[in-house]
Symmetry: C2
Subunit: 461 residues, 2 copies
Amino acid sequence: MREEKIPYKIYLSESEMPKQWYNVRADMKNKPAPLLDPVTKEPMTAAELEKVFCSELVKQELDDTNAYIDIPEEILDFYKMYRPAPLVRAYCLEKHLNTPAKIYYKFEGNNTSGSHKLNSAIAQAFYAKKQGLKGVTTETGAGQWGTALSMACAYLGLDCRVFMVKVSYEQKPFRREVMRTYGASVTPSPSVTTAVGRKILAEHPGTTGSLGCAISEAVETATSMEGYRYVLGSVLSQVLLHQTIIGLETKAAMDKYNITPDVIIGCAGGGSNLGGFISPFMGEKLRGEKDYRFIAVEPETCPSLTRGKYVYDYCDTGRICPLSKMYTLGAGYIPAGTHAGGLRYHGMSSIVSQLYDDGLMEAVSVPQTSVFAAAQEFARVEGILPAPESSHAIRVAMDEAIRCRETGEEKTILFCLTGTGYFDLVAYGRYNDGEMTDTVPTDADIMKGLAGIPRFPGNEI
Amino acid sequence: MREEKIPYKIYLSESEMPKQWYNVRADMKNKPAPLLDPVTKEPMTAAELEKVFCSELVKQELDDTNAYIDIPEEILDFYKMYRPAPLVRAYCLEKHLNTPAKIYYKFEGNNTSGSHKLNSAIAQAFYAKKQGLKGVTTETGAGQWGTALSMACAYLGLDCRVFMVKVSYEQKPFRREVMRTYGASVTPSPSVTTAVGRKILAEHPGTTGSLGCAISEAVETATSMEGYRYVLGSVLSQVLLHQTIIGLETKAAMDKYNITPDVIIGCAGGGSNLGGFISPFMGEKLRGEKDYRFIAVEPETCPSLTRGKYVYDYCDTGRICPLSKMYTLGAGYIPAGTHAGGLRYHGMSSIVSQLYDDGLMEAVSVPQTSVFAAAQEFARVEGILPAPESSHAIRVAMDEAIRCRETGEEKTILFCLTGTGYFDLVAYGRYNDGEMTDTVPTDADIMKGLAGIPRFPGNEI
């Protein structure tokens, strides 16, 4: 029997690890739309982008023709500390669900940052270091990205300044302490260290902060200090490129055992993990070599693909970053206060957006109580306590497997388990106490968000 | 060059994973002393022990002649979900310390319980299930053991009742929520659910609990309910036996690459991780096949090996468990309130105690600020945020490596990284804020603890 031979966990050897990232844009017939200057509405040039981002990263951001990009030796060495990530055969989950389906998941949570974010953090920090910079700035909400960047900067001896949304800074002291342990400076945002922070504090003295405000402070700090640049943990094409290490390792592991997935499932926030995970498989589909079914899973409370519009919008609520064409709910859209399950970004990677718009992949949205139910069921049989974000993919993978039980189909289901839920136990506690609820945004809620999208010729809703 | 060929992480394949535990007592000339009945001072019989513990575990507890004990297939399957654990070559730490030494560590933290505790939790839960029991009870302080047991019980469909020291229950809600997510009932101790709990609450209404009290409640619950037994996460010889999976995997991985460690270092609380880790190497030493240097590292505030006495003592502060001959500070010994670094058990595994008393291994104690300094230095270069407990071993391994830099010796240093520090960030925060201090117990402190040791013929201090 084929299954007998497949171990619980497939690890590539170091020599089998991918040495190049794969740039799916090279194989896309319809390229993602270029970033636009928020004022002139003209495509951003490399020179303009380099004021904010590192040069090499700008090159990657704008490159939609080279299919493979070498991963520098130093980044490969760092990857070897926590990669290859295992491809897991979910034998226990299959047995528990009594399904004829075969379920596999790529587990990206076996590192201190707890997620895939480290794959891009080390790349961005490396290029900053190589460019001779002193440090980088960023914003963080829950803290996953800030932790990953702190780890990468500590390893390279680079200064790391994190603006953490004040409410998270106060309510998630553990994340803050991890970052400080890695030597990062963590500033609650808004702060008095920036002009924009001081302005916001003057206008709203009691504010608990927002991601948009933290981005503005991080960008201001980066652009006003010699030797600093701003870095971002999702959405951008460069980030998705770095995350293709997930998909490349997954594909190499599956090829090694002659496994072909029928359906490939990932959770979608900004879209970089999803995009990186599916890229190598999508490449085969784009080149007409193979066909796969792809499913993006988003929360019902923040349904950018399933209920948003495909237009140019601000990447940040502060409206200072370039405009990106993407599926969006509007930069001012705020998920319901009851939402605990992450993936609260209003937009979506321009690459994922274009692929979705071209009908190359599907998207579904799921209510958060069903996501936490799946998370708990999964944890009890597979051992790993998943992040709420990752659990969106688990929910849909389990639903597919249950459907197979009913139809008798022996499908091979693959999903990405992006991270662990060790720092999400307040949310788990709410679920355990039966206090978690679902909130579906009304059409009026959605319209309110969409109303904030900039209108200009060719960008009508 | 030999080093070039050794990967950052050595993973055994599933077929290379050990299929038997190794019982080091079989090779010991001086066997550990038997457990004694606390009242009669006579050796405990299997029948007596079976009132509290599962039959198969009692058999393992009393077996000092069979060198290898088969690991049941079901436990091997569970091990495959999170094992083999990687043996890591600490290239980055070596470079950072500029040492000619080669440093390796076995990393046991890649599972949701965050430590090696799961290795014994699944074994104990399995034997309970096999015996047809309904459930198990236990106590937990910080929550690591309770989490591991909850995971094992969830997997097997066994009821799990955890008595958690009240102060931890309130101050460590995250650990509590992990256990609840895995379906365990978690009761703050002392509680009104037991006679001993009600008695303590009546006498000390404001008490925040103690491990001794939690043990008493767990034992009372197990012995008063049909189909329940009590299980324990450390100290006992059965637990050390299960933990030999750590050492066996380590040795198999090292043998595969022809690596021989010169010095083997482990942290020591109750002694089960240390004992399990060193057992296969110690076996070679006992049989005269090879020689190794072994170092047990304990906190300066709880120095059972370095400042305790080798006598019979109570295993629990409640004084209801059997007496064990061990290095002990007295069951009533309480580490200073400033101590945040774990490893606060007053005694030591009877196996480790006998090996130490026979001069087969060394022991050192280290101050906690130096432990956290090592933890932070390690985290920044090796990525992993270590548990404070594990960091005791890191401290001594780094000191050895620094000594090699000075002498030029190319020693091979091996240590066990027992777990991650994701739930220890309050302690890290104190260190980051410069608020952590060291407290060395005075001779009077030590004498006060030793004074509580039971005196009877042959058990003089």
